[in-house]
Symmetry: C2
């Protein structure tokens, strides 16, 4: 049901293009997955997702388990029908949200006991339960439950969490045996290369449909994030999809694609849109800036998204200042389109074996507007 | 540029159908105008407005004057281009919002001095300025500035406010002379029939493209609102469009169409949507009710709006409980479509001279679900 084909390689970087085949259709990689936390990519309809170029979304197991819950989702045989999205869905394991959102939590070998951030109710998420929930959600790509450590963490904390992550990955694999969705393992190990190597050895020994690099973008310096991505990506099996979780800025995506990553997810395009931060090829526009009050031009004159084809910065600024619901939506359409278009441009550059040239131009254009970004911040 | 044609009449009621011709196209009446306060009907795009059947919207002069202001709007030659809506726009005068929203206000013969509810800045709205702002907005149908009194008001208060309203109407007419938009006068007079008669005599003496009945739905009993609508509507010129401002519920619209009204506006469909109150032929659904938690059916199985074609009550309830932005939008699409469909059904019934029969059936179906409404409230 699931497989991954590599279709082209960049000769001077490790970038590659490929196709993920899932039971809800195929997806070209490298791919960015917008975050649809509660069975909705905030403010957008499924039709708008398709129109902006989205082909796969990420949904959050923790959120969906708490609300609306598996009983309701089960009535729809999964969230595809519930939310009216017919493309592929990847679900995270719920672990990361327990560590970042739950009121209280306690980790044991058995799993993560936690209290809901919504109503304080007590729950226990075991590796088996993480699989059962993702199966109920109707996920196309499930993630193993992992033990996410804070940054900074000691070597001992990282080593203990890694042992648990590996044991849980084995239990997830056992539970998922015989089911149709793909299952990915998650490389942890904190900021320690040898622990990351141990994770890779153990997970590839168990065997998964794909591998994710987790535990990055948690507060470490950007250079360290890139180093650890590079370290992990080049040691993961070439034939399997590699997914760097929770990353990142446009610059991060370009850099990490060059290191051989195939999949990404991040709240950045959608969350920043709702905060009025709009991505363009030549830098980031802060739409609340008073210099856009009378600006009749679109966010990006080169952009062909619905928002840029129909609305001026002056109108978008007006909607944003007036806290109008349409602001969040038009901004989100633009940012998601920007991310989708960036991935498409990267795929095309890889196919033409021109990725390194693309990368240089991309970085130069975005940096040239340090000027505008400073102006917008001021 | 503006004219009104009557196309059919109901023989057993005063209902009629017609066509308003404006410089931004024609509109069939009776018509309901959704409220687009700040150059946006909250959460919807212009394309969605058209898809739900909207042909004319109302914009609020007070809000647009304060934000983004005439200078910005002027750069776009009006809000049509600013907000990307190419259909007709009716603007109110700004008076009602001054009385209901401004921090402070003081009425004199000259106009209404007030402080902005946004930043406390001081402004003076005169009849002339109300015209200038509406002209700048690019309104297709402008409203005279009127003096809106609270409910209840004494006869003396009502009489004084009416004299001012009439004097202001004359000044508005003078200022608008030679401009292209239509201008409507507003019948005031509080709860006093003889004052309303005086308003009608004075305004028709001045002469306007259409006439509105104002000062209703301000807290008076429903029966009194209907009586005063009936009184005013039957005394206004038959050949001109008649607009009952700020009304109302589906039941109000049906009743007041039968009294000869052609135009309506109200925040009810849009505001109630954002509060989770959804209109159906058989009553009102409160989507937050726990009985919809696992309800796989749409809001109204007979409804053909985008929301009902694609989403279940369980999903809509989930979005609403999670305060997801998509909730407000999908709910708004449904409610606006319901209102548009109701008006269309009324127009068809009038054309077939079957309006009285339609009205009886309509009332019976909506009342039959007192049961569901009580359940939803409980």
């Amino acid at each position: 049901m699931f497989n991954f084909q590599i279709t082209a390689r960049s000769s001077r970087t490790r970038a590659r293009t490929g196709v993920l085949h899932t039971r809800h259709g195929s997806v070209e990689t490298p791919v960015f997955m917008p975050v649809g936390t509660a069975a909705t990519v905030k403010s957008l309809t499924p039709e708008e997702l398709l129109e902006t170029g989205v082909r796969i979304i990420l949904a959050n197991t923790y959120h969906l388990y708490l609300r609306p819950g598996c009983e309701t989702i089960g009535l729809f045989s999964g969230i595809h029908r519930f939310m009216n999205w017919s493309g592929p869905i990847l679900t995270d394991s719920g672990g990361f949200q327990i560590f970042s959102l739950a009121k209280q939590f306690k980790i044991s070998e058995n799993g993560a006991a936690f209290q809901s951030h919504i109503d304080g109710s007590a729950h226990l998420l075991t590796p088996e339960k993480a699989m059962d929930i993702q199966l109920c959600i109707g996920s196309d790509i499930m993630m193993c439950l992992d033990d996410c450590i804070p940054y900074p963490a000691t070597r001992q904390q990282a080593a203990e969490a890694l042992d648990r992550t590996i044991a849980w990955a084995r239990r997830c694999k056992n539970r998922a045996e015989g089911t149709t969705p793909a299952l990915f393992g998650i490389v942890q190990g904190g900021m320690f290369e040898d622990l990351r190597q141990k994770a890779i050895d153990a997970l590839t020994g168990i065997g998964f449909h794909g591998y994710a690099v987790g535990g990055l973008s948690v507060g470490e310096p950007k250079d360290r994030m890139i180093e650890l991505s590079a370290f992990s990506l080049q040691r993961l099996p070439d034939s399997k999809p590699r997914y760097v979780m929770g990353v990142g800025t446009p610059e991060d995506l370009v850099e990490i694609v060059s290191l051989g990553a195939d999949m990404f997810d991040c709240v950045l395009p959608t969350r920043n849109a709702r905060n009025g931060q709009l991505f363009t090829e030549t830098g980031t526009v802060n739409i609340s800036n008073s210099r856009y009050k009378d600006d009749l031009s679109p966010i990006d004159p080169e952009c062909t998204c619905y928002t840029c084809r129909n609305y001026s910065k002056a109108y978008l600024r007006h909607l944003f200042m007036a806290k109008e619901l349409l602001a969040y939506r038009l901004n989100t359409i633009h940012n998601v389109y920007y991310y989708m278009n960036l991935m498409k441009t990267m795929r095309a550059a890889i196919c033409k074996d021109a990725f390194d040239g693309f990368k240089d131009t991309f970085v130069r254009k975005r940096q040239a507007t340090g000027y505008r970004q400073r102006m917008d911040a001021g």
